[in-house]
């Protein structure tokens, strides 16, 4: 609910012009650029993990257990002597994947349902809306905890749980957007000339609801990354020895006094990447908002 985009945002009839206006607005916003840079940085690091000259993230060393940062291990070592820096770099993959995949699940399930509700109206709409409300009223984290516990603790299951719990936002958004687009004159006339349902949805509705969904997705990735970290913190996310930032924190909280670096760096990394997605999403929203000149 933090960032549900205003449903009045609709497409501009002249795409090329609007695209250049989008870029000029986006690039004029230093916060958005900062967000973009942060996201790009972490995506690059995660992608390069296999070829970077770093330690094996699962290689243990009994003689270097919980060693403070040094030249050899810039971020120190963890509770069984693994290099924290290389676990963070590999952990970036898990955390970003968790964000992107769970949002993909939410979008792929939520958008069709939302469009269906907004397009068909009537009983279909009422039924989908009630279920959405019920899902929204069930507390997000409790839902995710119960789902993850049901499916068994693993990164995949955490992503499914987060995706399902994030779905209602997209149902609502897609429904509202669809209903708004349906009242536009050009849609009315397209219907009048007898365009079929599929064509109508494909040609007019989907392109028009794309921008707000994109904005919402960016912001929800941020929430999903935190959610994965929270589930991992409860032991329900990525399972060792594979690293993720959340599961690193889960372990680190037992060694706050002896090895504060174990908690410090993964926490900062989560903060920066989430901030990146939030700033980026926020910037996209401002740049796509036609009301605001």
């Amino acid at each position: 609910m933090t960032a549900v985009t205003d449903p009045r945002t609709t497409a501009d009839p002249t795409p090329a012009k609007s695209r250049s206006r989008f870029w000029s607005k986006f690039l004029a916003n230093p916060a958005a650029i900062l967000g973009g840079v942060l996201v790009l940085f972490f995506v690059t690091v995660a992608a390069l993990a296999p070829i970077l000259p770093i330690f094996d993230p699962t290689a243990t060393d009994w003689l270097a257990v919980r060693k403070a940062p040094s030249a050899e291990h810039p971020f120190g070592t963890d509770e069984i002597g693994r290099d924290v820096l290389s676990r963070m770099i590999w952990g970036a993959q898990a955390s970003l994947l968790a964000g992107v995949v769970s949002v993909a699940i939410a979008v792929l399930l939520g958008v069709p349902l939302g469009v269906l509700a907004g397009y068909a109206r009537g009983w279909t709409d009422a039924a989908i809306s009630r279920v959405t409300e019920a899902l929204l009223a069930a507390p997000f984290l409790i839902l995710a905890i119960a789902l993850a516990a049901f499916l068994g603790p693993s990164l995949t299951n955490a992503m499914i749980a987060i995706g399902l719990s994030a779905m209602p936002i997209f149902i609502r958004l897609a429904r509202a957007q669809t209903m708004a687009v349906m009242t536009e004159d050009y849609v009315e006339s397209a219907r009048a000339i007898g365009l079929g349902h599929i064509a109508l949805i494909g040609r007019y509705i989907l392109p028009n609801i794309f921008p707000p969904i994109l904005v919402q997705s960016t912001l929800t990735i941020a929430t999903a990354i935190i959610a994965e970290a929270s589930l991992s913190f409860l032991g329900l996310g990525q399972q060792p020895p594979a690293p993720s930032w959340g599961s690193m924190l889960n372990i680190a909280k037992n060694f706050l006094e002896q090895a504060p670096w174990m908690a410090l760096y993964p926490g900062i990394a989560i903060f920066l990447v989430v901030l990146g997605f939030n700033l980026l999403g926020d910037g996209l929203r401002d740049a796509l908002d036609p009301r605001d000149h």
Partner: protein
């Protein structure tokens, strides 16, 4: 107004039934039989079977559901399998704690979020705007549990300023109670301050362009008076709405924060109950928070209508 409220409450009923079916169903699908999970090291098969019969866990799931919902309607939410305490009593013990935490967090969020939103709207497009924005989004981007741990490490262990836990009820020891709640409320408050700031900013942007602000300025009133007396007062409608919704969210959303600061509220109760398969407790709490969330939604809508009579029924 009454008709509006009545209709909203009627619409809420199927939603609440759906929540209850949903939670009940999920509970039943959880692996790990509650009786076995409770048994721990004591796994006498005869006793386990007796308990399954006693708590009617062998009945078909729809029968179990009807049973539970029937009792719930009579105000009986069952007992905790772990401690034998009635669920309603547990909720009664936890609700004031969580409400206290939510109220304190909300106050902190308002103190930060509303002025930041006003300032950022007033200085729109300047560096003040985007710094305020970035700072607000930072609050939203820090994982609660990490901030909580770091604060315990710094404020409690290193500096010794505030207790890390040891919550006391407000009625018994108000000073200790507020001291123990300060850090968790801050952690939660900074997270929702961002939302509040964003909504304040956009409401203020709308109001600042309006005619009466222009008129007020034309009358030569000071900028402070214009901002606070005219603009902010008019921007309050959406702010009140969003605050009500945030309160509903906080009632259920403090799960990890309560866990970190060992605050005996809803969040801690529900996490432990899920892990212990104490299903009656989970169902009772989710039902309660669900109802609270919907009630807050209705209240928010009602507040919106009262404050903004121009709005018509959708």
């Amino acid at each position: 107004m009454l008709a509006f409220l009545g209709r909203r409450v009627l619409i809420a009923i199927p939603t609440i039934i759906l929540i209850s079916i949903f939670v009940f169903g999920m509970q039943k699908l959880l692996p790990g039989d509650p009786v076995l999970a409770m048994a721990g090291e004591e796994r006498d098969p005869e006793v386990l079977e007796y308990l399954r019969e006693k708590y009617r866990l062998n009945d078909p799931i729809p029968v179990q559901y009807l049973n539970w919902i029937g009792n719930a309607l009579r105000g009986d939410l069952g007992i905790s399998l772990r401690t034998n305490q009635p669920v309603l009593e547990l909720i009664g013990q936890k609700l004031p704690v969580t409400i206290q935490l939510a109220v304190m967090a909300l106050i902190i969020a308002m103190v930060i979020g509303i002025p930041a939103g006003v300032l950022s709207a007033y200085k729109k497009g300047t560096w003040i705007d985007w710094v305020a924005n970035t700072v607000a989004l930072s609050g939203l981007s820090v994982p609660n549990f990490w901030l909580g741990i770091m604060m315990i490490l710094l404020v409690s262990v290193q500096l010794g300023w505030l207790p890390a836990s040891g919550y006391r009820p407000l009625s018994e020891d108000p000073i200790q109670s507020i001291k123990t709640m300060l850090m968790p409320a801050f952690v939660l408050g900074t997270a929702i301050a961002a939302t509040l700031m964003r909504h304040t900013r956009s409401a203020m942007l709308g109001v600042l362009k309006s005619d009466y602000v222009r008129t007020a300025r034309a009358k030569g009133l000071s900028e402070r008076v214009v901002l606070v007396k005219h603009a902010l007062r008019n921007a309050l409608v959406p702010i009140v709405t969003v605050t009500t919704l945030l309160f509903g969210e906080l009632l259920a959303g403090a799960v990890l924060t309560e866990q970190i600061f060992t605050i005996p509220g809803f969040g801690k109760l529900v996490v432990d109950a899920v892990f212990n398969r104490d299903y009656a407790v989970v169902q009772g709490i989710v039902l309660c928070t669900g109802v609270a969330f919907i009630a807050m939604n209705i209240l928010a809508d009602a507040a919106y209508r009262v404050l903004n009579p121009r709005m018509k029924d959708q």
